[in-house]
Symmetry: C2
Subunit: 159 residues, 2 copies
DNA sequence: TATTGTTATACTCTATAACTATA
DNA sequence: TATAGTTATAGAGTATAACAATA
């Protein structure tokens, strides 16, 4: 006897999955000398340069927190503040050459590691999962904190 | 023309979902005067008291980081270090009465908020999602960072 | 006046290395 | 000797409030 009920609830599943992904993200960053926050900043900037205010609202941080994060990342030579030609108060934060290279490496390794998480899921199940999570992400207007490149092809093999 | 392909990959879906859950977790904590880390500590301790080493490995933190986190949370009156009767070197970290009350409130509100994330999913889809994520969580041996209580019944209504 | 971004300040979070005390 | 935990130190991350410069 005993109800043999292995099914956990959606809430628990989501929170624990987030914990797992966070850990993988942090570990992947560590391997590249990146804090999770700096890794996240680089990933956001892979899509395009952004202003401080945009980054602030995308990442959910106070503007002064962004100033510090960009300062440190800039000091490490990974990003650069460029003047915004259309508003002399504003700056555009962009990846440096080195930052872009590191971003690609970090992104690729993170993808590789995250991809290993659903080891026991079939291809069809992964598609189902991606579809369901994709709807959650879309419905809740999650900002472009992680771009969508072709997952099937490792970065090293892209032309 | 155009491939009308809204389907994002599993990796992107997982990373963005984690970002979303993190944001909700942080916001929920803020409403209770808790940092995400302190909120997480309280949630872990809802299940049972743990030693510093156990917490360290469950949360993926260096032991000295745990010392600081427990120090601050203890200073706030939310947890307590108790001597381990079986090893005088060790301590058991447990919730205080006030910490337990706050943990329940934080936990309940976090559940409520996370539960709202899959707004557009049917009950069946939520079950499917929970099943798939549950397998990922199980396969990757995610520690008990968020306990599983009856999600259907709000904490306030439990006897 | 409103907005963009930085400074000043004060915590919290985290890790590494060295340490104390007990097993 | 090994293990449990703390201390010392240094840096990163974060927020609030006050500020400067431009729109």
């Amino acid at each position: 006897m005993g109800k043999e009920n292995d099914q956990i609830g959606v809430v628990t599943a989501l929170v624990r999955t987030a914990f797992l992904v966070n850990a993988v993200y942090a570990e992947s960053g560590r391997g590249h000398g990146l804090t999770p926050q700096q890794g996240q900043l680089l990933c956001v900037l892979m899509a395009q340069p952004y202003g401080m205010g945009e980054l602030s609202s995308m990442l959910g941080l106070a503007k002064s927190s962004l100033t510090g994060l960009v300062d440190r990342t800039e000091r490490n030579g990974l990003v650069r503040r460029e003047p915004d030609p259309r508003d002399s108060r504003a700056v555009r934060v962009a990846l440096t050459t080195r930052g872009g290279r590191l971003a690609e490496e970090f992104y690729a390794e993170t993808c590789r590691r995250i991809e290993h998480l659903p080891v026991s899921l079939t291809g069809e199940e992964r598609t189902t999962l991606a579809g369901l999570l994709g709807r959650i992400v879309r419905d809740n207007a999650v900002p472009m904190v992680f771009i969508e490149l072709d997952e099937a092809v490792p970065a090293a093999n892209r032309q």
